[in-house]
């Protein structure tokens, strides 16, 4: 079947604008994760959804960041009032048990 997909592939926005990033996980995967990779940095955990449980938001860097997962499938990561330091590749992953499978990422550039 299809892997994890993300859209858009690339997003350029102006400082202060809001952006929405979308993730379509692998069908049947109950867990969904968002990570961020800044230039020259490692991968940083943002948020984790598991079934109907409350999400683990411990990695969100500020209250400008939020995410939701509708119907236990598609997820949207929203960044409000974007800042230049938000520029990064945002990666989504899903899993059933064990291995996390990653999407191709969304490269966000905030001017």
């Amino acid at each position: 079947g299809a892997g994890v997909s993300q859209s858009p592939s690339n997003k350029v926005t102006e400082k202060g604008k809001d952006v929405e990033l979308r993730c379509d996980p692998i069908s049947g995967h109950t867990a969904l994760y968002w990570y961020r990779q800044s230039l020259g940095q490692g991968l940083e955990f943002l948020i984790y959804f598991q079934g109907n449980s409350a999400p683990d938001k411990s990695g969100l860097p500020s209250d400008r960041f939020s995410a939701e997962r509708t119907g236990g499938s598609v997820s949207t990561l929203t960044i409000q009032r974007t800042q230049q330091e938000d520029s990064a590749v945002y990666l989504c992953a899903s899993s059933y048990i064990g291995t996390q499978y990653f999407g191709p990422g969304t490269r966000l550039l905030v001017l």
Binding site: A31, G42, L91, I97, P104
Partner: protein
């Protein structure tokens, strides 16, 4: 925050040679995974080793895990130019069957020269 460190940060070898990358971590884990990343985009899962395993093989890949030293190594044998990429280890300390958040190392950039 990052779980630990990987070394070396960068590695350059000739095609056909073996490449060894090391990863250290700080907390107890359920499993440790290795990923490859090409051109700063999506990560490709290579291999998962559970905390009760000491060694695992997959094709040209060999992974070891030493929980007493909180370290792991990834060996790529008979390297190819196509193996050029960044390699990350990631640990999962969650309880239960499914993985929680992964904590990644800083990665090793491998260059295999043809």
């Amino acid at each position: 925050s990052q779980q630990g460190e990987e070394d070396p940060q960068a590695l350059s070898i000739q095609e056909g040679e073996n490449a060894t990358m090391n990863c250290s971590y700080k907390t107890s884990i359920n499993n440790l995974q290795w990923y490859r990343q090409n051109s700063g985009r999506g990560l490709v899962h290579l291999i998962l080793i559970r905390s009760n395993e000491r060694e695992k093989h997959s094709g040209r890949l060999r992974v070891t895990l030493d929980t007493s030293k909180k370290s792991s190594s990834l060996l790529i044998t008979a390297s190819r130019a196509a193996d050029t990429a960044s390699y990350f280890c990631a640990t999962d300390g969650a309880r239960g069957g499914n993985t929680g958040k992964l904590i990644f190392g800083q990665g090793t950039t491998l260059q295999v020269k043809p």
